[in-house]
């Protein structure tokens, strides 16, 4: 399969993502410039971490209007797999591809730390290599990662099993102390209703090698590879395109 990693002006984890999919997973991958409209045959598009367009106005607000995002939105609506990490998650919310928004951390501090997240849903193209309930150690680094949405949206997310990752403590409990940014319901990552668009604040691409402190992030990318294999197999189950 081929990965596409978008670079916006101000992206800074684009090469980290490329490194993981190329050198750790051994996949084909291509960089996509924000002015590209062509996704160059990517089977999964990554919107990486960073500070696209300097985080001006609101995080992700300007990136949403870049030419590449028109193609990404179209790709997502047709069922294509899109993974937004950190700033990429903010871009997906601003673009309306995921519900809710990410605001300033409740304690007003930029957090750069190793956190634990619990896999709430293993039934997504991005988490199928994990077990539901598994606790992962993955780093975060953000100033605006507090997930908010109105009560109806939150209820709908829970009802449709769209909360994929939640911040937890070492024993797997979603406590206030384990929540690095004040996100409602300790939400660290969500998928859209049709489960092909995933946004998360933690950085799985920075948890793919022992030397960097852990490898819990590898299976996230591996899940996508497995999903792609299933989708492209002749007898495979195809995922219905959705919004």
């Amino acid at each position: 399969m081929r990965w596409g990693v978008v670079t916006f002006p101000g992206s800074n984890d684009d090469h980290d993502a490329l490194y993981v999919v190329q050198h750790i997973l051994g996949c084909d991958a291509v960089g996509l410039w924000h002015k590209d409209r062509d996704l160059k045959g990517a089977d999964c598009v990554i919107l990486p971490g960073g500070f696209s367009y300097g985080d001006y106005l609101r995080c992700g607000a300007m990136a949403r209007f870049s030419p590449v995002m028109e193609s990404v939105a179209q790709f997502a609506r047709a069922g294509g797999l899109v993974l937004g990490i950190c700033n990429g998650f903010q871009v997906l919310c601003e673009a309306g591809l995921l519900p809710g928004a990410l605001i300033r951390n409740r304690r007003l501090r930029f957090v750069c730390d190793h956190v634990r997240v619990r896999v709430e849903e293993a039934d997504t193209p991005f988490t199928r290599a994990y077990r539901a309930g598994e606790v992962l150690a993955i780093p975060v680094k953000h100033g605006e990662g507090c997930y908010v949405a109105d009560p109806e949206t939150l209820d709908a997310l829970e009802a449709h099993h769209q909360v994929v990752l939640r911040y937890v403590d070492v024993s797997g409990r979603a406590t206030a102390d384990a929540n690095p940014n004040g996100s409602l319901s300790n939400i660290a990552g969500i998928v859209n209703r049709s489960r092909n668009v995933f946004g998360l604040m933690p950085h799985p691409e920075h948890a793919c090698e022992k030397v960097l402190g852990g490898e819990d992030g590898v299976r996230l990318f591996g899940s996508v590879v497995a999903t792609y294999a299933t989708r492209s197999a002749p007898s495979g189950v195809s995922v219905a395109p959705g919004h």
């Binding site: 607000a61 919310c93 928004a101 908010v148 949405a149 004040g182």
Partner: protein
């Protein structure tokens, strides 16, 4: 024409910066201050002459880019 846009956190949405400023005001002895919210102020010059048209265009700008309706409210004033 010139527009002045005021963007504020939606009622009920968490506003950590507003809370922090409120706490600081209290610490400085301004105990009467409450419900402090931080927003944005944006000025836009418009190459338009028709007021109704300007209002309609500003409303579109606010909805599409200047404010995020999930977390923010907006209002604007237009000066000739």
């Amino acid at each position: 024409m010139r527009a002045r846009v005021f963007i504020t956190p939606k009622k009920g949405v968490l506003d950590p910066p507003g809370k922090a400023v409120e706490h600081s005001l209290h610490a400085l002895g301004f105990g009467e201050a409450h419900d402090v919210h931080l927003g944005k102020y944006i000025e836009v010059s418009l190459a338009l002459t028709d007021r109704a048209r300007a209002e309609q265009r500003m409303d579109e700008m606010c909805r599409k880019l200047l404010a995020n309706g999930v977390i923010e409210d907006y209002r604007f004033e237009i000066e000739e």
